[in-house]
Amino acid sequence: MLLFKKLYRTLFKYKSQFISMILMITLGVGVFVGMNAEWKSLKTDSDRYYDETNYSDYWLYSENAEGFSREDIESVKSVKGVNMAQRRLTVDTVIDGLEKTVSLNVYDEYLVSKNHLVSGEDYDEDKDGVWLNDKFADLNNISLGDIITLKYSTYSIEAKVLGLIKNPEYMYAVENETQLMPEFDNYGYAFVSPDTFKNITGFEVYNQILIKSDMSKEELEKELEKALPVSTLLLERKEQASYAMMLSEIDEGVTFGNLLPVIFLMIAVLTMITTMRRITVNEKLQIGTLKALGFRDAKIIRHYSFYGLFIGVIGALLGIIMGFGLCRMIVNPNTMEGTCFDMPYWRLYAPGWTYIVTAAMVLMLTFISFLSTKNMLKGTAAQALRPQTPKKVKTLLIEKTKLWNRLSFGTIWNIRDIFRSKMRTLMSFTGVLGCVILLVAALGMKDTMSAFLNIMYEDICNYKYGVNIAENSDKESVDSLVRSVDGDTVSTLSINMDGDPYELDIYNVTHDLYHIIDKDNKVIELKNDGAYVCIRIAEKFGVKAGDNISFKIYGQSDEYDVRVAGVVRSIMAESIAISEKYAKEKGIDAPVRMIYTNSEVDSSDYDCVAKVETLQDTIASFDTFMQIMYEMIIIIAVAAIILGIVVLYNLGVMSYTERYKELATLKVVGFKDKAIGRLLIKQNIWITIAGIIVGMPCGKALLAYLISRLAGEYELFTRINWTTYVFTFMLTMGVSVLVSCLIAGKNKNIDMVEAMKGDE
């Protein structure tokens, strides 16, 4: 097979081009498949988990101490459209010996939000024992058969660990809202049967009802209002931290998956188009010869199209492997997503359409080579045999200016070359652009997060200890504690505005331990003149300072009307902040949830203290989160740099090959290797600078878009430090100079004698 031999030789001859093309496609497909497999895997795995455990659709919270009665649950069950309902008690307990928080669950029936069994016996309400989260158990060296004691109020629940389990409601389990990342070793959860609980405590109370229903929240709310005597708080799945976190992680994945790979795939295809065209132009004589030898057009076209197919298939296969590798780095029970979610399933799946897109891409690549060859085969064999005439050089507009004559010949040469090879230039530019955009966005993401943490922990939180107050604590003892530690306090209420739940935070800040910030992240004083609403609420309800806004408190029927005193940034919860004095004026009263203080408090000294956390610990919990962030940023940055290197190298080699004869001529005339190298580097540097100039604002825009998409539930801002710009500039420039030097180094090997001989 003559053509087969030729195929092999051609592949060898253009090996660097073929390798670049394969690399680009691998990178493109890899990022594409990887990023989409990430969310698809999370979605499939979590859905499987939800299905298996019959994860609840709605949660109904009781606002009074008695909880939900037997009549209540019967009325909920009888509501048309409610498929299943079950009562639940969830309380925070402290595990004896370890002094860590364990959230204890008691189900009156075991139908909804069941457990996934990891080891031991499955939950059975007739058995006397405790079922404990396996991750917490492992990290604290608790094993099956151990006896543990959970302290709740004055009771001690002592039981044998019968099973290690996972529960979907604790998939993303944080102890309280100030934490961003779960700490699996510090916060666990457990289940005991209602009988076990009742035998020890002597009472049976359920503060929640879990509901399975296909109704919408509004419909269900209306029905429940009729069925139940008091107003209650109804939350749906996406209002639950665990589900919401997974959902936003998946959404985030979809956003990334739809955006970033486009840059890579586009550049891969563009690289392919330019490179294939160059190769076929170079091969024109060969193509013509084959034609003159009597090969049919179809056969020649098939031969050359095969290159595209070959490159495409190899690149796509490697890309899919790389994609799953990337995905495994992220979707992994032990690393990135694993530090966030506690899930039983971690299988990888790529969306079916990613394979279709990949296949379409391979076809497209084949088609590109088909078109490039067809272009060369136009006309008779004699015409095909003639070398491709170089495009005629046109006089550029700037040449008319005076300045032109002052330019060095190298500059002139490079400018003309850029204009002669517009496509190639555009490609290099796009490569640099992509690299810069990705770097700025990735590093900017880190800047934004750091700035956010800074504001959170430098400006907002000015205390050392946060003392969480136990529910139903005695007001007197809380007040005396506040006085004795010179504390500031916050109370939190759930409020209802237009049917949606928000948070009302009542602050009593007299020691300057807690601050609120305005839109520009400036600390402002919380005065007694009205309510400070967060930006999201202000936008949603179209209010500004001076307007009025009204809300209802869950569990009460009164409507409160308050004056908006200002708009503030509340990074996490959608909330309204008011001072305690203003709350009193309006007749709003709520128990203290947390005391901010600089004095150390020992939780065992006070009955009313549930837990004391140091600000230091909370900051540390963010470190895990930042770690994940860094890993993600590194992946993106590395991909960006590879992208830059491959594109620039490929095009650099192309430009070098095209100008080979001219470079040889310069050498003959007496130019030194270094001088010629400088000429080659010059052009790359110009293009790189142009790419950087355009790329930086684009990167900023991408970051703003990503933040708005990814952190829509937070009130974030974008922040890009100048160091990010400097670093991006240096990195991109470094890559460009490095690649240029590699190519410039080639000119040492130019064979002048050979090059002067003739055309072919």
Binding site: F409, W413, V668, V669, G670, K672, K748, D759
Partner: protein, 234 residues
Amino acid sequence: MSKIIEFINVTKTYTSGEHTLNALDNVSFELEKGSVVVVLGPSGAGKSTLLNLLGGLDSPTSGRIVVNGRDISDLSRNELSDYRASTVGFVFQFYNLIQTLTVRENVELVKEITPNAVDPIDMLERVGLKDHKNNFPGELSGGEQQRVSIARALAKNPEIILCDEPTGALDSETGAMVLNTLQELAVNNGKTVVIVTHNQNIAKMADTVIRVKNGRIKSFENNDVTLSAFDIEW
């Protein structure tokens, strides 16, 4: 007249695999300053090899090449570049102009490598192409392009001009014009011009004729009477 070029026992050996081939085999000769030298010989004789060694494009395997009293046979790459930039001008069969530079820019570029450069416009005037200075090479005829490459070689103001088949791609009339330009350089400006060619007739305009065969010098003659380039029959 003074001696400008001296080849002393020069051998150039090419090795490809097992084969070794002496493209030049122990060649020695001397050339006078200001003379027109024509190198003749059949294809593969070693003419281009000789010219390339003289021009510093390559170094001999053994022997010495002395130009202007300086031994160029073991110069480093950079020294060879300097030598090419300052001492020799090349003219090839395929004009080897840079397509993206105008005629004027093609000539002007030598300014960047040698301080001796002369005014490019003067050189273009000399080869009769002043009016075409803003054209691109692609817009000129073959003979015109060849004259641009002569102008480029001249602009460096070199002592020696080396031409490998300068008229190979030209018809007789343009060929004669190109040769005439070269001859004038020797006669009027004292440049040493070495022309490699297949064409026996060109030898009639030479002061010195070197015949090469199988890498050796077959004959070395000095002509007493030389013809003008325009009087040569093609």
